[in-house]
């Protein structure tokens, strides 16, 4: 892979020591959401992927919202 970044490659490819929460992209209502999966079956929204600026004003798609 050809990579073009001023960051050190070790920084980009280093593996974090502690295990991170399981994350996944899910789609809901035609919008793509990046969520953290918890063992108890809950999902927390970490990022909304949309080009519509108004989606970011929607309370439902607020980072930190819980999906059960």
């Amino acid at each position: 892979m050809i990579f073009y970044t001023p960051l050190q490659l070790e920084e980009v490819f280093a593996n974090p020591e502690e295990e991170q929460a399981e994350r996944a992209y899910v789609s809901h209502g035609g919008k793509m959401l990046y969520v953290d999966k918890f063992p108890n079956g809950e999902y927390m929204l970490t990022q909304l992927v949309s080009t519509n600026p108004n989606d970011y004003l929607n309370d439902h798609y607020r980072p930190g919202s819980y999906l059960h």
Binding site: M1, I2, T5, P6, Y25
Partner: protein
């Protein structure tokens, strides 16, 4: 209502058949009953108490943040912009008659060359007016993405790092490897000089300069400097960007009227 993930699909039964978002404030009636809870949640999530609401927008925003991720999935500590998400969005923007313009916000440290060039070519070939704003940093492969738009802005404090392309993974030490890398770099250089006012010599000078980046080859260009060398069109922020795109949309409307 289905929530599909890469691995499996969650049906309504699994999530109890209720509305997916079970926040107290997801139901307007409950919100009225218990506004304090909602405010606490908002402060926890966003660090603010109020989020403004508006109607439909004719200008869409594409954010290029963190690493531009291409053929390889990067480790999870990286914040990434995935091209497989953005390419269909760009197609949707081109197709949707309600969308009249696109603003590209950049704060990126670069990433995959082919993914970056793919995004740049997509943005450059949109028929709708496009304006970019470089905030914070628009480094490496962020440079072609920033210049791909019809008009580009950079905030005075933003920087753009221009440096030679790098190769990761197994490298075979033969002259062909160098030539391959050189060709890859030429694609970046050609795109940038074709879509901005910077001269090829100046851009190459920046790319191979010594002494600017402590242990590396390249140049870090700050706001005004990027404009002075013609890499970016103008110093400005979101106000200028919105003004510019509205001006472009106005021009396009006039053209449309003449044709009719």
């Amino acid at each position: 209502m289905e929530l599909s993930t890469n691995e499996h699909t969650i049906s309504n039964d699994e999530i109890g058949g209720g509305y997916l978002f079970m926040n107290k404030d997801s139901n307007p009636d409950e919100l009225k009953k218990n506004p304090a809870d909602s405010i606490v949640e908002k402060i926890q999530a966003l660090g603010q108490t109020n989020v403004a609401e508006t109607g439909e927008s004719n200008i869409h925003v594409l954010t290029i943040i963190g690493q531009v991720e291409g053929h390889m999935q990067l480790p999870p500590q990286n914040k990434t912009t995935k091209y497989e998400h953005l390419l269909p969005q760009l197609v949707a923007i081109e197709q949707n008659p309600k969308i009249e313009g696109l603003i590209v916000l950049l704060n990126t440290v670069g990433g995959d060359v082919e993914a970056g060039l793919a995004l740049s070519e997509m943005i450059a070939s949109l028929s709708k007016p496009t304006v970019s704003v470089v905030l914070g940093g628009g480094h490496s492969i962020g440079v072609p993405i920033a210049v791909a738009t019809d008009y580009s802005f950079i905030v005075p404090t933003a920087t753009m790092t221009i440096h030679p392309v790098r190769l990761t993974g197994l490298v075979i030490g033969v002259p062909q490897t160098f030539e391959y890398l050189d060709k890859m770099q030429d694609r970046v250089i050609q795109f940038v000089i074709n879509h901005s006012k910077i001269k090829e010599e100046t851009f190459k000078e920046f790319m191979f300069a010594k002494g600017n980046l402590t242990r590396d080859i390249g140049t870090n260009v700050v706001g005004n400097e990027a404009v002075a060398h013609g890499l970016i069109d103008e110093v400005g922020g979101i106000k200028e960007a919105i003004e510019k795109i509205n001006e472009f949309i106005g021009e396009k409307d006039e053209e449309g009227e003449v044709l009719q």
